[in-house]
């Protein structure tokens, strides 16, 4: 047949050749094994080697696992049980049973309140849903917004009215904003703006004046002895003079700016609602919630931050810090994109500084330094200080992720927003961020996983998170001293389950973004 081609070039196939199954060697398990395990000398060696490793590992681990003792009250008892049963090696999982509560909830959380934590955790999944899966109904975001208040109440306990009142005041503040920005007539707004302008201007001038005094005080206490001190002395004096000189002009200017914004209501409504919010929180919050609580008391047993521990503490730190650092990260990313050198500079310095030092040093700051930076009477407990530092830490990383998202947006989007007359705030809020954030979600999730793992570092500043709990009370205790593998393995497993699922999610999301980008 073949040589026919050369002479008579023309060839037309009249019949269809049927599909036929591939040759036997080409299908089924045989082929699979041949291709995947023994497709060459090198591969065969590799396979045998790998098999050897796996088998050795199994021989080593399996009996240990299988012989595990689940019921005993101390390591000694565990060993006795194993010895009696005549088993060589065996795990002492009894420690997990015995200290389960401590490992998961810390040893101070009230036992009858464990359901609260579990409930808060389950609801967290529901609340995070709409942010993580865009296919869920948008209306669920309402619950997401409500969730922090609910979770706060569930975890810390106390009166339900406290978070509810806070929520109410926040809503009230937003209503004030709405009212001033668009609902009231311009001439009334002019009066309001005037009043608020005067208040804020005067207040700012006063603050700056105090600041100037403070700076002089600092300069004087730094003194002029030594090598660096004179420089610092000079810098503080210059800043003091600056603050002093500009306290009145700044006050006037800001007051004027607020007044001047009465037409569009933008600035004045922001300032007014902030002012309102501040006053409401200072003067209305506790009377209202206490009054409400005395009428209809809905209370859970209050639990102090100090009493949080175990894996729960890791989860708490992880979720709180990540959620707080997202807004901060957005601001930093926007700041880093800003054309204003000073603002850009501050953001760059902050981000690069945070990314350049290990988290542990920041935790030292939380532990030993932060208290010195806050007013003497303020009483931040360690958890709060740690939350602040971890939040700052992760916000720098999140800022970099979001910056990537911002950079990926085409310039045309900015221009279209501009040409429609949207101002910077509107364009950012309505056009730029929704798109940039969507692109950034996988990156943010990765940062979140990293951060969640890093929350174990708090054990180094003697907090009893999961690792701290193991290294501290459990291994210290008379019963469970020198138990390692069981507890560390358990810890590793807990983290693995959480982190692995999250990172699988983020990979799924990345694939989604790659395929369905519209």
């Amino acid at each position: 047949m073949s040589d026919t081609h050369a002479q008579t070039v023309a060839f037309v196939r009249e019949t269809e050749i049927p599909q036929s199954p591939p040759p036997a060697l080409e299908a089924g398990a045989v082929k699979w094994v041949r291709e995947n395990l023994f497709s060459g000398i090198f591969n065969t060696v590799l396979t045998l080697l790998a098999l050897y490793v796996v088998v050795r590992f199994a021989i080593f681990v399996f009996p240990w696992f299988y012989n595990g003792v689940w019921e005993a009250s101390s390591r000694k008892e565990c060993l006795d049980i194993l010895r009696e049963a005549g088993k060589g090696t065996g795990a002492c999982f009894a420690v997990l049973v015995d200290r389960w509560d401590h490992l998961v909830f810390g040893f101070k959380y009230p036992q009858d309140g464990y359901w609260r934590i579990l409930l808060a955790f389950l609801l967290l999944i529901v609340a995070a849903g709409p942010a993580l899966f865009s296919s869920l109904p948008r209306r669920m975001l309402l619950f997401t917004a409500f969730y922090p208040f609910l979770a706060f109440w569930l975890v810390w306990g106390g009166s339900l009215w406290l978070p509810l009142t806070i929520l109410g005041l926040i809503i009230a503040t937003m209503l004030v904003f709405r009212l001033i920005s668009s609902q009231i007539p311009v001439n009334i707004r002019q009066i309001v703006s005037g009043v608020i302008g005067v208040i804020c201007g005067a207040g700012l001038a006063y603050l700056l004046f105090i600041g100037a005094q403070e700076l002089v005080f600092i300069a004087n206490s730094v003194g002029t002895e030594g090598m660096i001190a004179p420089i610092a002395y000079g810098v503080f004096w210059i800043m003091a003079i600056f603050a002093f000189v500009f306290c009145v002009p700044m006050g006037i200017f800001v007051g004027y700016a607020i007044y001047n914004s009465y037409e569009d209501g933008g600035l004045v409504s922001i300032v007014a609602s902030l002012l309102f919010g501040y006053l409401a929180f200072v003067y209305l919050l506790s009377p209202i919630w206490m009054a409400l609580n005395s009428i209809i008391p809905i209370e859970l047993q209050a639990v102090a931050s100090r009493d949080m521990g175990g894996f729960m503490l890791n989860m708490l730190l992880g979720t709180i810090c990540v959620s707080l650092s997202i807004p901060l990260g957005i601001l930093l990313a926007l700041g880093r994109q800003s054309p204003m050198p000073l603002i850009k500079g501050v953001c760059v310095v902050f981000i690069e500084f945070i990314r350049g030092v290990p988290l542990i040093t920041l935790l030292f700051v939380a532990n030993v330094m932060l208290a010195y930076f806050l007013p003497p009477e303020s009483n931040f407990d360690l958890i709060l200080r740690v939350i602040i530092m971890i939040t700052l830490f992760s916000s720098a990383y999140i800022a970099e992720v979001i910056r990537g998202g911002l950079a990926a947006l085409p310039k045309g989007q900015y221009e279209a927003a501009d040409s429609l007359g949207l101002d910077y705030g509107q364009a950012t809020r309505l056009i730029i961020l929704p798109q940039a954030l969507k692109i950034s979600i996988p990156g943010i999730v990765n940062v979140a996983v990293g951060l969640f793992k890093d929350t174990t570092l708090v054990s180094i500043i003697s907090m009893f998170d999961l690792v701290g709990m193991i290294r501290g009370p459990i291994q210290n205790s008379t019963e469970w001293t020198s138990v390692y593998w069981e507890v560390y393995g358990f810890g590793a497993m807990l983290f693995f389950v959480v982190c692995y699922s999250i990172s699988q999610y983020s990979q799924w999301l990345e694939r989604q973004l790659n395929t369905s980008h519209h």
């Binding site: 603050a243 040093t361 806050l374 054990s459 990172s503």
Partner: protein, 405 residues
């Protein structure tokens, strides 16, 4: 056309500070400046007041004071009579040592695991995926603790080497002792004439380089392909061994031996260093493996096919076509992994390895009570290390950029 007034010559009005694009950004920056100054005034004022209340002051004089404590790993000479400043230097060097070692082994582990993850061998692929996922998804601190516990509990104590029927024995003809305190290796002793041996060794290293260049030149000039691997290996060992024999073993080895409580002699690698080093490498190796895999996958299949169609063999395709391209993708994230190793090395504190955080941020801080000073200095050191690494990374990235239209 009538010339109209230049619009920029308007008289200044206060509202222009807010509404005029030319002044607006200045205004904002000015306000930001004032806010920064106010924040500094707030923080600084609190600091000064709090310190005064506690009767403390800020001073770095303690760096010149006697430290009073001992450090078990001393890259430079140090004893308890030296100053806190010198102790900090010892710590800094220890940080750099573990970071450097960690970077090397993490790279090796990562590259091997990353390449094996793409192996056609199903079993190997799965094992590597297992390794990567297990290590990436569990905190490094837990790994450090687990590996340290393994070290301490699985390796024999020096005691076990003692007695008539020791339960443990040394490796490699009694030259290496692996104990739960560390690993003891033989140490070269430089006798008379050892300079010559060293000279021969250096010469043979140079020789290897020259030989490889010669081989390449042969290929390029005459199209002769000379194998280089085995000759290189031979060049590495044979001259030195010959020199040793001829000169009557001027370079002898000092073997570690159990004397008193511990092995003495030889080189000691502390258990804490090993645990930290190993944990950091294997943890970071998992991340590097992913980077390597991504880098290799980023080189399109078409490149391999084109090279194959030109008749290149798989090994050459890897060396000449895939790797050079993959490296460009791999190296930037690799450098950030190096940064992470350096930063994570501060977890040394969990196993008692005396790095910067252990000395300056640990014992010095505690013994002198100079918390603020020590922590600030600590952060400064890490910042300098990180910034220099990223500086070099940027230089590298710029030189390696692909030429585009």
């Amino acid at each position: 056309m009538t010339t109209l007034a230049d619009p920029h010559k308007e008289s200044f009005r206060l509202s222009m500070l807010l509404n005029d694009t030319r002044y607006r950004s200045l205004t904002f920056q000015f306000i930001a400046l004032v806010a920064i100054i106010a924040t500094m005034a707030f923080i600084g004022g609190n600091l000064v007041r709090n310190l005064a209340e506690a009767g403390l002051n800020i001073s770095y004089d303690f760096l010149g004071a006697q430290a009073g404590y001992d450090i078990n790993q001393r890259p430079i000479s140090y004893d308890s009579q030296d100053t806190h400043g010198r102790a900090a230097m010892v710590g800094l060097l220890n940080t750099l040592i573990v970071a450097f070692l960690g970077c090397i082994t993490a790279t090796i582990i990562g590259v091997v695991a990353g390449v094996l993850r793409l192996s056609p061998n199903w079993l190997v692929r799965k094992i590597m995926a297992f390794y990567v996922e297990i290590f990436r998804n569990v905190p490094v601190l837990i790994w450090i603790l687990i590996i340290f516990s393994i070290m301490i509990n699985a390796a024999p104590a020096p005691n076990a080497f003692r007695g008539d029927e020791p339960t443990a024995s040394m490796w490699l003809f009694d030259s290496i002792a692996v104990t739960n305190r560390g690993v003891y290796l033989p140490k070269p002793v430089w006798g008379a004439g050892s300079l010559l041996v060293v000279g021969v060794f250096i010469a043979s290293i140079i020789g290897i380089f020259l030989f490889r260049r010669y081989a390449r030149k042969q290929l390029f000039d005459h199209g002769k392909l000379i194998p280089t691997f085995w000759p290189s290996v031979a060049l590495f060992f044979i001259p030195v061994i010959l020199a040793q024999l001829v000169l009557g073993t001027p370079v002898s080895l000092e073997y570690p031996a159990l004397k008193g409580f511990n092995f003495r002699g030889g080189i000691t690698i502390l258990g804490s260093l090993i645990a930290l080093w190993f944990a950091l490498s294997i943890y970071t190796g998992a991340f590097i493996a992913e980077n390597v895999r991504a880098g290799i996958l980023a080189v399109s299949k078409g490149q391999t096919e084109a090279a194959g169609a030109l008749g290149l063999r798989p090994g050459r395709i890897m060396n000449l076509v895939v790797l050079p391209q993959a490296l460009r993708v791999i190296i930037p994230p690799l450098i950030s992994q190096y940064l992470n190793i350096t930063k994570n090395s501060s977890l040394a504190i969990a196993v008692g390895y005396m790095d910067l955080t252990g000395t300056l941020g640990g014992i010095t801080l505690l013994q002198t009570g100079r918390a603020i000073e020590s922590v600030l200095l600590l952060m400064l050191f890490y910042l300098i290390i990180s910034l220099s690494i990223s500086f070099f990374m940027n230089i590298y990235n710029n030189t390696m950029k692909l030429q585009e239209r």
